[in-house]
């Protein structure tokens, strides 16, 4: 049985043979199983998109270790869209000192839950302090990241660390290193080689992903992109290709689209879409569709498909938010309003919905942005200063300011900060 479970885990990491993996995991969970098997089988179900099933087994589990139960529960709750419950479970586990083997996963998932809940400060604090080498994050962000944005040549000047060092930052200390599943050695359950590469790199990848997710939410697309690419490197080194484990390519596509690099965004999104369809779990497909839609400059049909695939996952709300923005940019105010109203029912999206609603009220025909205004808006959104924009487009500073004022008025945003969260349609 344990051997079968190992095969199911491998299938979930490789991203092929979902039905069989699910049936194995289900059988394991229906029988009596140890903490390790419980953890691994539940994660197989989670990756396969069988959230309801995983939730049922989680609720009915008896005699499972408290930490394992809480951390897994957090993951499941997050996927069910119950963000507050996820935060409660994970925060409880992290603050009472979850054991090292689980710690990295707990910290990474807690940070993601906090980001979904809109508590970016909390997420940052968790990633900085909750992690034994909190310095990693601090050394990179936020100041360094901003510096990198401001000086694209920074990497050229020889500051870039060699790849091996880069890989290292993602990894927690040796003690917490071998996660992905709790204490296999102690439980002595069927995984003979305690340090299979998959599990070894997985925890580090989770951390990279959580950091990237936070940076993306903070509007630091460039730094987020680096984290996601690091995450991808770690996963590939561990032979994990299934986007359902960590949708790093979709996330990288979002970050690239945020910076205006639509070509890179499309590469990542398309690759993810193919891989997600291969595995067949709807959530990963939905995330990839969302990313594809943005990489194509805001495709309404793809976004609607994405929302349908995502179901109750918190990412569905983000997709809906983006859809409302795209519709607004297209001048389809009524449809945009309908989606905005649906967003408002969710506490963590109320504020974004209000911003959208006020833009809808003041909407002065965004679709009427001229080509030059659009270019300036995109550059400003990517974090360039007026002076840099003026240099890049060979305009005077005054002209740039003039155009930006028109952009703000047309889009109904209050200023640069508002622009940052707004979707600028590419023609």
């Amino acid at each position: 049985m344990m051997e079968e479970l190992s095969r199911a885990v491998a299938a979930a990491e490789r991203g092929a043979g979902r039905a069989e993996a699910v049936s194995v995991a289900r059988r394991v969970l229906e029988g009596a199983c140890g903490d390790d098997a419980f953890w691994r089988a539940s994660l197989v179900l989670v990756h396969a998109g069988e959230i309801a099933l995983a939730h049922r087994h989680w609720g009915a589990a008896v005699g499972v270790d408290r930490d394992v139960h809480a951390v897994l529960g957090g993951r499941i709750m997050l996927l069910r869209g119950e963000v507050c419950a996820a935060v409660r479970l994970l925060d409880g586990a992290v603050s009472r000192g979850v054991r090292p083997a689980l710690r990295t996963n707990a910290v990474a998932w807690l940070a993601r839950a906090l980001v979904e809940a809109g508590e970016l400060g909390g997420a940052r604090a968790v990633l900085e302090d909750g992690h034994p080498r909190g310095a990693v994050l601090r050394s990179r962000h936020p100041d360094n990241a901003r510096l990198d944005n401001a000086h694209p040549h920074a990497a050229v000047l020889g500051k870039r660390r060699p790849d091996s060092a880069k890989l290292d930052t993602g990894r927690p200390d040796g003690a917490t290193f071998d996660t992905g599943r709790p204490d296999g050695a102690r439980l002595g359950t069927g995984r003979p080689d305690g340090a299979t590469p998959g599990s070894k790199h997985l925890a580090g990848a989770e951390l990279c992903f959580a950091r990237g997710w936070l940076l993306l939410a903070e509007g630091q697309g460039a730094a987020a992109l680096d984290e996601f690419l690091d995450c991808g490197r770690l996963l590939e080194a561990g032979g994990v290709v299934n986007p359902a484990v960590l949708p790093w390519r979709s996330a990288a596509a979002l970050a690239a689209a945020d910076r205006g690099d639509l070509v890179l965004a499309r590469i990542c999104a398309d690759k993810e879409l193919v891989a997600a369809r291969r595995w067949g779990a709807p959530r990963a497909v939905g995330l990839a569709l969302h990313a594809s839609a943005l990489a194509r400059g805001g495709d309404v049909v793809l976004l609607e498909q994405a929302i349908a695939c995502l179901g109750h996952a918190p990412e569905a709300l983000r997709a809906r938010h983006d859809l409302a923005q795209v519709l607004l940019a297209r001048g389809e105010v009524d449809r945009a309003r309908r989606h905005t109203r649906q967003l408002r029912d969710h506490p963590q999206w109320t504020r974004a919905a209000d911003v959208l609603a006020s833009r809808l009220l003041r909407n002065d025909g965004e679709s009427a942005l001229s080509g030059r205004q659009r270019r300036i808006a995109l550059l400003a959104r990517a974090g360039r200063s007026n002076r840099e924009i003026a240099a890049e487009l060979s305009l005077t500073l005054r002209t740039v300011e003039f155009h930006l004022t028109a952009v703000y008025r047309k889009m109904g945003v209050a200023g640069r900060a508002g622009l940052r969260r707004a979707f600028v349609p590419t023609s």
Binding site: P152, H153, V156, L157, G158, I267, V274
Partner: protein, 394 residues
């Protein structure tokens, strides 16, 4: 690769995949069609279908999928087509040893339909190993025909220092490919190669135009290796105004994403040369070191890296003796006031010397100076200095 329009004899997803690959527009559909073909029992029996499906996966950069499928096929339906696909895969990831071994094997088996592709890649590998005579001999093989013969001749011409012939060859090859409906640069990046040749002829304008054209086509297909390769060509043909460095960075990121180690090593080297031209020696040194670390067994490239790094070392004494002394002391951890005291000069003079050192080595400041290869190259002297400093104090 001669028969793009070849009818496999039945309506099959592999034919669809190869059509989409040639047109180079619908990446997702092409990959999914190829995977459908490899899952279909009818196509698996047909070496043509297998070949097209695998080539589509490889050119789409779906290397993991291509690897798994071809390994499975080696057991169930072994054949030269599968071996060639595996050679192609090895080439993509920069495993030139495996690639060359597989190509030799397929070449001696002598399946006619795929002979052109086998011989073309053999020529490329021989040129990379600087075995021009052997490459020239392969060119005479009757099996090498069509656009691939033109491309192979151009590759040899370029290596033999005849860029004009190379340019003409690549352009002719591109014309032939376009005529047969192959518009996808992921199949054969003839414009990048032509761009390099044009650059070697001194025709920057044409080089840039070709590279930009290829970039448009590669962006349409959306595969990072092809895109990275032509971005590097764009950067190479761009004037050194600062933007070129950013383009190199993007190219390197894409090639890294695609695991395209061969192309990556080459582009790192080009980037190093460009950085040297920008007088950023320290950063250039790092790029050469990264290129050397890729280590793929490309003799020509290896020699280029060695020449560049030893050239850099030979150019090292751009620093005057005083400047070098100041730089050394900085590396040893002294501050400006201490250096001034030791060399009996004003602090202001030390600052002036240091400014010149930074400019000459292309560094931003003290921290970078301590981190560069310059410090590493002079570590012997540095150690003495530190001892001397310690001794002076003790």
């Amino acid at each position: 690769m001669g028969g793009w329009a070849a009818d496999p004899g039945h309506e099959c997803p592999a034919a669809l995949a190869s059509g989409l690959l040639a047109a180079g527009e619908s990446w997702t559909e092409a990959v999914e069609a190829a995977e459908r073909a490899l899952a279909s029992p009818v196509c698996r029996e047909n070496p043509w279908c297998v070949s097209w499906a695998l080539v589509t996966l490889v050119c789409a950069g779906e290397l993991v999928a291509a690897d798994e499928h071809s390994l499975a096929l080696l057991e169930s339906h072994p054949g030269d087509h599968v071996l060639l696909a595996r050679a192609c895969l090895a080439r993509c990831t920069g495993d030139l040893v495996t690639c060359s071994a597989l190509l030799d094997l397929v070449r001696h088996n002598g399946t006619v339909e795929i002979r052109s592709a086998v011989l073309y890649w053999t020529v490329e590998l021989l040129v990379a190993r600087d075995e021009l005579d052997a490459a020239g001999a392969v060119l005479l093989d009757d099996g090498l025909t069509g656009p691939l013969l033109l491309a192979a001749e151009a590759v040899v011409a370029m290596a033999a220092g005849r860029p004009r012939d190379a340019l003409a060859g690549h352009l002719a090859c591109g014309e032939a490919l376009t005529a047969s409906g192959v518009l996808n640069p992921a199949v054969l990046p003839w414009r990048s190669s032509a761009s390099r040749a044009a650059l070697a002829c001194g025709d920057t304008e044409q080089a840039l135009r070709l590279a930009l054209e290829e970039h448009t086509a590669a962006a349409r297909w959306g595969e990072p290796r092809a895109l990275g390769r032509c971005l590097a060509a764009v950067a190479g043909a761009s004037p050194p105004h600062g933007e070129d460095l950013l383009i190199y960075e993007r190219a390197i990121r894409l090639l890294d994403m695609a695991h395209a180690r061969w192309e990556l090593a080459e582009v790192l080297c080009d980037y190093g040369d460009r950085l040297t031209a920008h007088r950023k020696q320290a950063a250039a040194g790092e790029m050469y070191a990264r290129a050397a670390a890729v280590e793929i067994g490309d003799t020509v490239l290896r020699r280029r890296i060695d020449a560049a790094t030893s050239g850099a070392a030979a150019r090292e004494p751009v620093l005057t003796p005083v400047e070098a002394e100041v730089a050394r002391l900085v590396c040893a951890g002294l501050n400006n006031r201490e250096i001034a005291a030791r060399l009996a000069m004003a602090t202001r003079t030390v600052e002036l010397h240091l400014t010149r050192v930074y400019r000459k080595l292309g560094l931003a400041g003290r921290r970078e100076l301590r981190a560069t290869r310059w410090a590493w190259l002079h570590r012997e002297t540095l150690r003495t200095d530190r001892e001397a400093t310690g001794g002076g104090r003790g």
